[in-house]
């Protein structure tokens, strides 16, 4: 015993590291071999049967079933981090980087690559390379119209939603106006339902035969079908996300800095402009980017209130779902990816140019600021108006569900509600998928966020980019990509919960990641450095210092992914199968073909389910209901 101990002591640090490193490599090699045997399999199958005379000859052949390109990519993903000395010297970092790179390759890069590969083929599932789809695409005048429409609409929605959302977030966190808690709960309510439910309720109230526009005011010339309708509806469904992101940042801004500026004689407006605003710039840009992409890739709302207004996402949806032309759809989606990509790069570039550190030990946050009365009046009326709209919209959903036929027959009935009993299996499926993807996505998000904002190693920006690129991909493309990539041998993942959970986890990863990164950027690295200097290991530092500070960001990420998965439609349409049919898919069908009351019942139930889930989560985590939403 003593010998062993003394022997251990003789080992130098570098020797220990080398041992660990070699052990790691061996373990990884074993895992790799296991993956390889799963990814490439040889099957003996009947080739053909020939009958000569009265004898039957059966020819067999060995076929290679599998995905060699993906295996090669996985191997590259495992080897790449080894090239860096800095990564090699930190085993935890090495394994983390490897796992993250491989999962990004398999679950982000590969499904998208498969869509692009399909788009460049002359015929669906054919071989080789062809530009036929792009010729078809570029010669269509309707495509360019859809492109400009989409861009104008996306920019309008994004700018308006970001401005309104920022103002509301400021009102809710940094003013002393009454009823803030209630207003905050109400303004973020649209997050709890699929975006297309907003359109649906909007038509019930403000349609050509809406309760308010027709039954009450009898306006005949009124028309919400068109771009104006899409913008209004998207504003209501996208602003809550801006409010969420900005509220957390406003709440975490250190009062100390502003106080210092005020003590030095700065006017409130001057302080706002020179201190507060620069601190929230990255969050504003993130919010702007998210709303822009959400707007351009949304098809549920344009389908319901667009009135035939041509948009790229709806075009891609039509091409893929109605025209049976996956390639054309993929080609259109690529057209959609380009502006999203540009916005993404601009946002990244501006955010990375500056350093934003506000949380130091002993910082004072969330203080109420003083504003002139007229500013308060403006802020308060915007916020209450937004809250009022959501009350109206969601109120109409619950009232609509309780009456016979909204618009015609307002007698109370339980018919629509009892009709929901048939949807129990779909509710169960949606819950399994959403909880699963929330946990998976939350964990991956926080790990990548830690890598990106705390670690310095070559290829970091590539990881950051790959993890966030899903943001710019319309859900429909994600769904198709997963189907095309993982349906065939050797995976056979279609129709399983696994594929939906993974798809959602990676699809919503960017937001979990962004919030975590934003939170980490606000934490002063000196806290971690202090812990390390006092002798704590890196793992201990992460679990004891970094993670508690990120706790809220983590739960916010989980909840965000959970809610978005519960309310997603575009990817669900492709990914769910017989035993895994999801609730939103049925809900959308009911909304397109059923009466307003039937659709309202479906939407109402979904909102209640999400609220109950949130209540359970807040019980479990011991956090108050609304804190779960706050990212600080």
């Amino acid at each position: 015993m003593a010998r062993i101990l003394s022997y251990r002591q003789e080992l130098s640090d570098s020797q220990k590291r080398r041992f660990l490193f070699i052990a790691l490599l061996i373990a990884e090699l074993a895992i790799l071999i296991f993956i390889a045997t799963r990814l490439i399999q040889v099957n003996t199958v009947v080739d053909r049967v020939e009958v000569i005379g009265n004898q039957e000859f059966t020819y067999y052949k060995n076929v290679l079933i599998g995905d060699p390109p993906l295996l090669i990519l996985i191997i590259i993903g495992l080897i790449l981090p080894l090239a860096s000395r800095r990564i090699r010297h930190e085993p935890v970092l090495l394994v983390t980087v490897q796992v993250i790179i491989v999962s990004l390759i398999v679950f982000v890069f590969w499904p998208l690559a498969k869509v692009f590969i399909e788009a460049f083929k002359s015929e669906y599932l054919a071989q080789g390379f062809s530009l036929i789809q792009f010729q078809k695409l570029l010669t269509k005048p309707s495509v360019w119209k859809a492109f400009t429409n989409t861009m104008i609409l996306g920019i309008t929605t994004s700018v308006l939603a970001t401005v309104i959302g920022t103002l509301i977030a400021y009102t809710l966190t940094l003013t002393n106006l009454p009823g803030k808690k209630l207003l905050r709960n109400l303004t973020i309510l649209p997050l709890l339902s699929p975006p297309f439910a907003v359109s649906f309720a909007f038509i019930m109230l403000f349609g050509r035969r809406g309760l308010i526009t027709w039954d009450i005011f009898h306006i005949t010339g009124w028309n919400i079908y068109g771009p104006q309708g899409i913008i209004l509806v998207q504003l209501i469904s996208d602003t809550p996300l801006v409010i969420l992101i900005l509220s957390s940042v406003f709440a975490s801004i250190s009062r100390n800095l502003e106080e210092a500026a005020e003590d030095l004689g700065g006017t409130p407006f001057y302080v706002l402009r020179t201190v507060t605003f620069p601190l929230v710039t990255p969050a504003i840009l993130t919010a702007g980017l998210l709303t822009f992409i959400s707007s351009i890739s949304d098809f549920g709302n344009p389908m319901l209130v667009g009135g035939g207004f041509q948009m790229l996402a709806t075009q891609a949806y039509i091409q893929m779902i109605e025209m049976f032309d996956l390639q054309m759809g993929a080609a259109l989606a690529m057209l959609l990816v380009i502006p999203a990509f540009i916005a993404f790069v601009i946002q990244n570039w501006i955010s990375n140019r500056k350093s934003y550190i506000t949380v130091t030990s002993g910082a004072v946050t969330g203080y109420i600021r003083q504003q002139p009365t007229w500013i308060k009046a403006i802020l308060y009326s915007i916020t209450t108006f937004m809250a009022f709209m959501t009350v109206l919209l969601y109120g109409s959903i619950f009232v609509g569900a309780a009456v016979n036929a909204w618009g015609f027959d307002y007698t109370l009935t339980a018919r629509n509600v009892t009709g929901l009993l048939t949807a129990i299996p779909q509710i169960k499926n949606s819950l399994i998928v959403s909880v699963g993807s929330g946990i998976v996505g939350g964990i991956i998000g926080i790990v990548i966020a830690w890598l990106v904002s705390r670690k310095n190693f070559p290829g970091k920006s590539v990881i950051d980019f790959s993890a966030t690129v899903m943001l710019a991909i319309p859900g429909t493309v994600v769904g198709i990509g997963y189907i095309v990539a993982f349906n065939a041998a050797p995976y056979f993942w279609t129709g399983t919960f696994f594929i939906i959970i993974i798809a959602y986890a990676f699809r919503r990863l960017p937001v979990g990641l962004r919030t975590s990164v934003a939170a980490q950027k606000q934490i002063d690295p000196t806290l971690e450095e202090a812990s390390l200097d006092l002798g704590a290991s890196r793992l201990r530092t992460f679990t004891k210092i970094t993670f508690p500070l990120l706790n809220r960001a983590f739960f916010a990420g989980v909840i965000y992914i959970f809610i978005r998965s519960m309310t997603d439609l575009s990817a669900a349409v492709f990914l769910n199968a017989g035993s895994t049919q999801l609730y939103t898919v049925r809900m959308f069908r009911v909304m397109v073909t059923g009466t307003p009351s039937e659709g309202a019942a479906f939407a109402g139930l979904l909102i209640i389910i999400i609220l109950v889930a949130l209540a359970i989560l807040s019980k479990l985590t011991g956090k108050s209901f609304i804190d779960l939403f706050r990212i600080s």
Binding site: V51, E56, V63, P69, F129, K140, E322, F324, A488, Q581
Partner: protein, 381 residues
């Protein structure tokens, strides 16, 4: 610093190389490695027995149920799966098979069947216009089956000569009118295609875009049959002035008219009747010049995991239980004659079908006609 720069370059290079490799690999999925003769076997040549099916007067041939067990997955559910539950229970009682019906549009169903061709998740493409079935058969994605229904139907547009699909209902186009909205614009429910051109309906007519919906393509091809191609497009140009919106969903016009959002919606009559059942105020008129129609088909997906159950279901669909119930609930016109019609529904005799219109023939013309519609009409929106 140098190393990191070099590495960054390498990452980019490797990713590009991998992409190129992935694109350039000619056969990524299946590669033949060796080929060898393994087994010889005696063959028993059996005489193919051709069975004659005698169609009795009170129609459908009752099949003696043989318990099969297991499950069955139907793609592109005809309508609300809950309402079909009764039929699924009947089917289960006979065959012991659990049926799952997946609600999806015909396009989704087709895309999925194509995407899942190596590992089919569904067993039967149930419903949707025969256009889908024709396309799938052409791609070799369905399994021929000449069951009870196929043998029962006369040769003609209602079935595939090789048994790849079989028609099991008719759907006819009608005008859905909102009396309330019509009163507001002081107009009557149109009774002909010509009526629709009346400026009084300006901004009050909804129809799906043919590119987006089989329903609307049925209208387009029907009008081509009625007027000839050029005259049909001339008609569409005039009609375009009155159209409020081209929806993405085929049944949305029925719903929009029923909800009183617009005065007139052009859709399948059965979709309009479903709205009437819900207690909404909507009237159906049929165009006097002639009505386009669809034939709804059923086919078995190639490689179906539950083939026996699939065949049993295809036969079941032509049985009296299904045909009657389907008419009662979904209001589509039964293809099996002699089925007692539900109250308030109509038979083919009640409407004037466009002379000589064969939906199967127009399946092949879909792409050029829609391309023309898109460049001439679609572009104006």
């Amino acid at each position: 610093m140098k190393a990191s720069k070099w590495l960054r370059l390498m990452v980019v290079f490797v990713i590009v190389a991998a992409m190129l490799a992935a694109c350039a690999t000619p056969t990524p999925e299946v590669r033949i490695v060796t080929q060898e003769v393994v087994v010889t076997q005696e063959v028993v040549v059996t005489q193919e027995v051709v069975k004659e099916v005698v169609v009795t007067e009170e129609v459908p041939v009752e099949v003696t149920p043989q318990p099969i067990g297991g499950e069955l997955i139907l793609y592109a559910c005809l309508f609300d799966p809950d309402k079909l539950e009764v039929l699924f229970q009947t089917f289960k009682a006979q065959y012991g098979v659990d049926v799952t019906c997946l609600d999806m549009s015909s396009g989704e169903a087709l895309e999925r069947i194509r995407a899942e061709k190596d590992n089919p998740q569904g067993d039967v493409l149930f419903g949707t216009t025969n256009l889908s079935h024709v396309n799938l058969a052409a791609d070799g994605l369905t399994e021929p089956y000449k069951g009870v229904g196929w043998n029962m139907l006369p040769d003609g547009p209602a079935k595939d000569p090789d048994g790849y699909w079989t028609g099991f209902y008719y759907g006819v186009i009608g005008f859905a009118c909102s009396p309330e909205r019509l009163a507001a614009i002081n107009a009557e429910c149109p009774t002909s295609w010509e009526d629709l051109l009346d400026p009084i309906y300006k901004g009050e007519i909804v129809i799906a875009a043919p590119a987006a919906s089989g329903t609307s393509y049925t209208v387009l091809s029907g009008l081509v049959q009625l007027y000839g191609e050029d005259a049909a497009f001339e008609y569409y140009h005039k009609l375009n002035d009155n159209i409020a919106q081209y929806t993405e969903s085929g049944s949305a016009p029925a719903k929009l008219a029923a909800a009183g959002e617009y005065a007139v919606g052009i859709a399948f009559a059965h979709d309009i009747q479903v709205q009437q059942d819900k207690g909404l105020d909507v009237v159906i008129n049929f165009p006097s010049e002639g009505t386009p129609f669809e034939i709804g088909g059923i086919s078995i997906i190639k490689g179906a995991k539950h083939l026996e159950a699939a065949k049993a279901w295809v036969d079941f669909v032509f049985g009296p239980a299904f045909q009657r119930y389907h008419n009662d609930v979904a209001h589509r016109v039964p293809i099996v004659s002699g089925v007692k019609l539900a109250e308030g529904t109509f038979s083919l005799e009640d409407v004037h079908l466009i002379d000589g219109y064969d939906p199967t023939y127009y399946a092949a013309l879909r792409d050029p006609l829609i391309a023309r519609w898109d460049t001439e009409i679609g572009v104006t929106r």
